[in-house]
Amino acid sequence: MTAARTLLRSWLPPVVAAVVIFGGWEAVLAALRPDGFVLPPPSEIGSAVAENFDAIVTATGVTGFIIVTGLLAGVAVGAAFALLVTASRAANETLTPLAVAVNAVPIIALAPIFNAWFGLLSPRSNQAVVVVLVFFPIFINTARGLTQVEPSQIELMESYGAGRWRIMREVRIPNAMPFFFTALKLATSLAVIAAIVAEYFGGRQDALGNLITNSAGLTRYDDAWAAVLAGSLVGIGLYALAVLAERLVMPWYFTARRSA
């Protein structure tokens, strides 16, 4: 009973919001009846999904693979750089300016150049864009979490004769976890954007990005919206997974927040 009520309390507001937004959208368009390609009503997007279901599922699979692999690689490289930079002054002095310089490059603008590197139809170039875009927020946030440690906690560990690696494991890495997960949640939506925009310039022809540009080129805007919807669902799914991982990896953080 109480569990059901709690469930209702947490699910009801977003469901109501969705019904109001989509219902209002549908109603306004039905009343004004503008040309369909400006903004199709949700019902038409829904039927476009049904009509092109197989193509959309395939495209979501292709793009989803690029998003997930690019995200994982970008997170791994970003976290590894953060660890290196924290562990070694030499690494900090060489890698941090490099990372900042790479971040200053408008990375999406590199997509056509990556196509030349990896081949116009290769998904590698799209993955590369995702990796580079995801890397920086993960790197900078994790590095901050690894270094922003209470000084007395480091002194405490040193007083126990703990070495640098032990301090890294017992203090710095747990301390960096909230920073890392904040960046990870940010990175999920960045990865979706990066993959789809990169696909506008090349990569596999059966991916979401191409589905969107092709449909829009043929003024099939309901199909384009259907593909955008699929991309959004991937983004929401990845975000939810990141939230779940956060809860599983650092339950203590939420205990602390609850009682603070």
């Binding site: 126990y160 747990p174 953080y253």
Partner: protein, 276 residues
């Protein structure tokens, strides 16, 4: 490992003693500390420090802000190296004593790890020393009993008040039965009521365990209430201006109203004002 309580000092007697003669807990001779020597931001923090602390003593270091009392504590802990002079702990160099885990530190901020529950916070030093899980568990339970917080073993630090967190920090510091406890304004962030309660608790633990305590504070009544000796420091560069014997006998809450208490408070205040 022994039971909790009176025989806690079992494994305290086996270090440093040669032929039954215990070296002093701390012996500092002619120590000085200069930060950033030769640079524009050079700071002479400590000058010509001589300090002798016997086993079982409770010594407070008191002085105005910036007099180097925390630096002096870190010299004993080998967290800061002396620029000159010698610092011996239990007859060994301070760094050897650190690596032998002769001492333990308590800071102004409890510095508990949010990602460990209370019991596992207390176990931290034992984990670093490679103790088995069952032994760690048992010792942690004994320590929780010592600081009277047994029922909070599985709580997380953020769920405890400031005073309780500091008691856990003391339990963590005492977990491996160090011979020497170094405390850097441990009650400085607590309200007055909690502070007096913590002082009573610390004295109880001190008398139950026979541990040597070096305690940094800038509160005169706190120094006089707690310690057997008060080392009064002068402003920068820090020197020991006077060491005042503070034999008030066993403390109770009545001690705080005792004329002898007030006369020692006055003696410490005069030493702080006059110095040399």
């Amino acid at each position: 490992m022994s039971d909790a309580g009176p025989d806690m000092n079992d494994d305290m007697s086996d270090t440093g003693a040669v032929d039954g003669v215990q070296p002093p807990a701390v012996e500092i001779r002619g120590a000085s500390k200069i930060f950033n020597p030769g640079r524009h931001n050079e700071v002479k923090a400590l000058e010509d420090i001589d300090l002798h602390i016997d086993q079982g003593d409770f010594v407070t270091l008191i002085g105005p802000s910036g007099c180097g009392k925390s630096t002096l504590l870190r010299l004993i802990a080998a967290l800061v190296d002396a620029s000159d002079g010698t610092v011996l702990v239990n007859g060994k160099t301070a760094d050897a004593a650190r690596l032998d885990r002769d001492y333990s530190m308590v800071f102004q901020r409890a510095g508990l790890f949010d990602w460990r529950n209370v019991s596992r916070n207390i176990e931290l030093p034992l984990e670093l020393m490679g103790w088995k899980a069952a032994d760690r568990r048992r010792r942690s339970a004994e320590m929780l009993e010592l600081v009277k917080l047994t029922e909070f073993a599985r709580h997380h630090p953020a769920e405890l008040s400031g005073g309780m967190q500091q008691r856990i920090a003391i339990a963590r510091a005492m977990s491996f039965h160090p011979q020497l406890l170094l405390m850097d304004e441990p009650f400085g962030a607590l309200d007055e009521m909690t502070r007096e309660h913590m002082q009573n608790e610390l004295l109880r633990i001190w008398s139950e365990t026979q541990i040597t305590v070096v305690f940094v504070t800038h509160s005169i009544p706190e120094a006089v209430f707690l310690s057997t000796k008060v080392a009064v420091m002068s402003p920068r560069p820090g020197r020991i201006a006077a060491v005042i014997d503070n034999g008030l006998g066993p403390r109770t809450d009545a001690t705080r109203d005792d004329p002898a208490f007030f006369s020692n408070v006055t003696a410490v205040r005069d030493a702080l004002r006059g110095g040399h």
